[in-house]
């Protein structure tokens, strides 16, 4: 059984204070992430307001099927993550590891599909830069759309990669017996991070893929 006295950090008086502090700390970090992605959302929104036609045109070049499937995959990974946290709360090591592996697997599927989409865009010459090619008079504005598409989904993917890395570390720590029903805070706050990344995608999908589909 893990030694709880080593789980308690020296600056805290008890595990409850540590737990509350760590949770509050993670939520404050997530607030910073809201503002970080928020800046990109603002830029996206401003240009969408000014160039609605170009945005609609550009958005239709994105693959709704892949996007929707990816959204489903990510939501599923949120479910497995939530169940992983619950397993940690109940002290079930095996279940925890299994759900973490499931989360990693689903996250990897998401990244794989994303990579496929990026590759398609590369083939269609829709990656902004010197090789960008878009038919029609709205090429410049469409390039703005695709700049935001790549920056926002790229930043999101980066966060997912970090998240997967964190999951791997969590699995290793679980196998070393570091967690128990009494101490599992790292799993919990990693879950918060993962769900947040999911929420960002929940907004990215309709805003990028479903601009003017009718």
């Amino acid at each position: 059984m893990p030694d709880h006295s080593t789980a308690l950090a020296h600056q805290f008086d008890d595990l409850e204070q540590q737990h509350e502090s760590v949770s509050l700390g993670m939520w404050i970090f997530l607030a910073t992430e809201i503002m970080f992605f928020g800046g990109m959302f603002l830029g996206y929104s401003v240009y969408r307001g000014i160039y609605p036609a170009a945005y609609g045109e550009a958005s239709r070049h994105l693959d709704v099927v892949l996007g929707a499937v990816n959204t489903g995959v990510l939501l599923s990974s949120s479910l497995t993550m939530a169940l992983a946290v619950q397993a940690a709360q109940l002290g079930g090591r095996r279940t925890l590891v299994l759900f973490l592996i499931a989360t990693i697997a689903l996250g990897s599927v998401f990244l794989g599909i994303k990579g496929l989409e990026y590759y398609h865009k590369y083939e269609e010459q829709l990656i902004p830069g010197s090789n960008f090619h878009f038919d029609g008079p709205n090429a410049g504005h469409a390039q703005l759309f695709f700049s935001f598409y790549f920056v926002m989904t790229g930043m999101h993917a980066l966060h997912m990669i970090v998240g997967i890395g964190v999951m791997v570390v969590l699995i290793l720590l679980t196998l070393k017996g570091r967690f128990s029903a009494g101490y599992h805070f790292p799993v919990e706050i990693s879950g918060l991070y993962w769900h947040f990344v999911d929420i960002v995608w929940v907004f990215l999908f309709p805003l990028l893929y479903l601009v003017d589909r009718s």
């Binding site: 737990h19 949770s23 509050l24 401003v46 307001g49 939530a82 109940l90 769900h195 805003l207």
Partner: protein, 101 residues
Amino acid sequence: MPEHIMEKKIYYAVFGALMVLLAATVLIAYIHLGKLNFIAAVSIAVVKAVLIILYFMHVRYSSRLLWIFVGAGFFWLGILFALSFSDYLTRGWLPLPTGWE
């Protein structure tokens, strides 16, 4: 604060709701509703986010302090949007005096 452990079925119910909302988002996008398309898409996304926050992230069972910080993050994003758009939405209002173009 005692830990609140949710029943598994709540997680599955929320997941089910999220998938239904995903299907709704995609379907509604293909129906021509004009300006409402955008509002519908964002509204559904907001509902999904709220569900994830309340249940997957346990905010429903968290302290008031946490609620304040969760709210603050979104509120501050709102400030960024609201005041920036106070510029963009009102730019066309004032006709420039002639000779300044």
